[in-house]
């Protein structure tokens, strides 16, 4: 177990499914170089198949005696729904090509089988009692990661300082056991670099005291980030003090560190059009995702909400309303600053450097995009396109 554990809480009552988190993550990490199909952060509709398709039925995680359960590697087209290649070259009549007749419609070259959000907003139930909610998902940075347990090469490790789960790109040989073993299907194989990759909890941002991009950009302000052992932080308040945040599929034994505040929902109508005492999202459905404590949590949420309605103070509601980023994200840049080196002979220091070799975990894209920008310095400086005069 790591010294400390970073964790995230997502309040599902406030998620509007806008995918700003998804875009923030994708533009930051996964928009090229074999990552096109990956969504380290995705938002899916539940009830629904999710992304990758039917991930909840794809196995992985641990059984009751702590042994890895077999899992399936999702199919690129059927389950992930690989990024569509469009027929731009024929449909958009590119310059310099003489085309007669009507142009074909712009369409994917290969008829898609699936895509993230294929079943967006479908949900379940009959009108007027139909229902759905959004479930944003990132890597759970589990305390007992199944991906780590499944890797025969020990390429996956939990950072000692904050429990972030990372894949050492130098050790990974692309065997994909982790992809099958993760019950959340949040490890992805990069077909270009032939190695597995996953959400890194934006650790370079964390080390600067900033929350992950998905949390920072969230317009619904549903995400809270902090250390589980920090009593002043929002995460401990929601998870330990108020006990309103629950892990997803805890029964799979990985001890996930992303917690969800389960969604309240309006009451159902009966055939006469009168409100009943049954919520539209059945408790049983929420329990199947977040465990047996769901009814208790919904009760707390409702009673605190009532308090606020009556004009009484509620620490929980103030926290969930998320007035200020400072209250939502409690990080600690200073924690990551290495203590100043005592004066040591330079020879010993050099030796230490070789031993404490920093593991490469940032996807190659980051370094490459930097190189690219430097190569096109003229363009970056706003002088692009002109050629040398």
């Amino acid at each position: 177990m790591s010294k400390r554990q970073l964790a995230m809480v997502m309040d599902l009552n406030k998620c509007i499914g806008c995918q700003t988190c998804t875009s923030a993550c994708k533009t930051q990490w996964t928009n090229r170089n074999g990552r096109e199909y990956m969504y380290w952060n995705n938002v899916e509709t539940h009830p629904g198949n999710g992304y990758p398709r039917k991930w909840q039925e794809a196995g992985g995680g641990f059984d009751e005696s702590g042994n890895l359960k077999p899992g399936r590697i999702p199919d690129l087209h059927q389950d992930y729904g690989a990024a569509f290649d469009m027929n731009y070259d024929v449909a958009l009549n590119p310059l310099g090509k003489k085309v007669s007749g009507e142009l074909p419609h712009l369409a994917p070259v290969r008829a898609p089988d699936y895509a993230p959000n294929w079943d967006e907003d479908q949900g379940a139930g009959e009108y007027p009692n139909s229902y759905y909610f959004y479930l944003p998902r990132i890597c759970n940075h589990c305390t007992n990661p199944a991906c780590l347990a499944a890797c025969p090469r020990k390429a996956i490790y939990k950072r000692e300082e904050d429990g972030i789960v990372l894949i050492d790109q130098e050790r990974c040989r692309g065997y994909q056991h982790c992809v099958a073993a993760c019950p959340y299907k949040k490890v992805y194989f990069n077909p270009l670099f032939k190695r597995s990759e996953k959400c890194i909890f934006c650790f370079p941002r964390i080390e600067q005291g900033l929350p992950p991009a998905c949390a920072h950009q969230c317009v619904g302000r549903i995400r809270f980030v902090g250390y589980l052992d920090d009593a002043e932080g929002p995460v401990q308040k929601l998870v330990e003090k108020w006990k309103v945040a629950l892990p997803l599929h805890a029964e799979l034994g990985t001890q996930p560190n992303v917690y969800y505040v389960p969604p309240l929902s309006p009451y159902q109508f009966d055939t006469e059009g009168k409100l009943t005492n049954e919520r539209r999202i059945p408790d049983a459905f929420l329990i199947s995702l977040f465990g047996p404590r769901v009814p208790e949590v919904l009760k707390t949420l409702e009673s605190e909400r009532e308090k606020r309605r009556r004009g009484e103070p509620s620490e929980l509601m103030d926290l969930l309303i998320a007035y200020r980023h400072a209250d939502m994200f409690k990080l600690d840049a200073a924690y990551y600053q290495k203590p100043a080196d005592p004066a040591v002979p330079s020879k010993a220091a050099a030796k230490d450097d070789t031993v404490v070799k920093r593991r490469r975990v940032i996807p190659i894209v980051a370094a490459e995009s930097l190189e690219e920008r430097l190569e096109h310095r003229e363009i970056a400086a706003g002088n692009g396109g002109g050629g040398v005069t």
Partner: protein, 358 residues
Amino acid sequence: MNRAAGMRLLRHWLYTLMAAALISLPVASFAMDGVSFVPVKWSASEPTFDPMSNSWLKQPPATVAVYPQASVPPTSAHTGAATVKVRAQYNAKILALHLEWSGDKLSEHRDVGRFADAAAVQWPLRYGFGTMLPYIGMGHAGAPVALWFWRADGSVETLAAEGFGSLTKQAPDGVKAKGVWKDGTWRVVYVRALSALGEHRASLAPAKLGLVPVAFAIWSGDAAERNGLKRLSAWQTLRFEKGKTDAAYAKQLATTAPKGDAESGKRLMSEKGCAGCHSFPANPAQPRIGPDLTYAGGIHPASYLHESLAEPSKVVVPGKGYFMEQDGKRTSLMPPFTGTETERNDILTYLMSLRGQP
């Protein structure tokens, strides 16, 4: 001359005759005192890099059995033995190996959930008289191996390992490999200079020692094989045609299982408690507390099994739950064998007979 001495002499002559008969046969691989040599043919010109060349196809191959990896999960999807035909040639500068095996279905590329066919050649970093061979599965602590790994996508890597999970890419040692798939069969040629400077390199110096241990493994991408999901051979011995022979080393490599009673060994596997932890065909319980022994005789030399019985913690197979770890030292859960000499020989004879037969 007494009767026993007469029998010895007769046996000696019989063996000599048999050896002569084997040498004269067009089968290039021959057994001598239980050890199979893979002959490395001297070639005045440079061996060809083309796997389909007649200079390869006309050379009689040595047939090497490969068995599904079953010792540590995850295990190969295959059952039963398969064969790889091995041909080898060398000249003053280079060694060339030609492997040929029938594939399932061609799988050339790696992608999401897809794996490529592959083949590897494994070398002990240290060998020679008095040196114990590394554990067949990627070596063991203190006994590293060097590997040449070819994949159907055309890539070839120089690797080294010192036990399960320790496989590490090395700076290329100059090995080249080329594979051709034709009519359901892979033919792959590996070529490398005999001498390769640097750490963790296969060292080949036939002028000093012409007997070199080597092992092979193949992966079927179509059967989702990768890493430990593979089929592997036992240690073989390359015998360089003009290499320096070392009678003592040849003898060491040739140690066969003591002649025991396999049926009695099978019974003793239950009586002595082996069946409580190890799976093998005659064990209905199929436990997973120690390495599966279904192919033990196919992949291990008798000397290794002998050592494992006497000192189970000398080489610990790191399957989950197979061992205890204290202060970084791994201790096998297996107690050292305490039976009689006869009982041990019976068990060894039985273990050496395990090659995947039902």
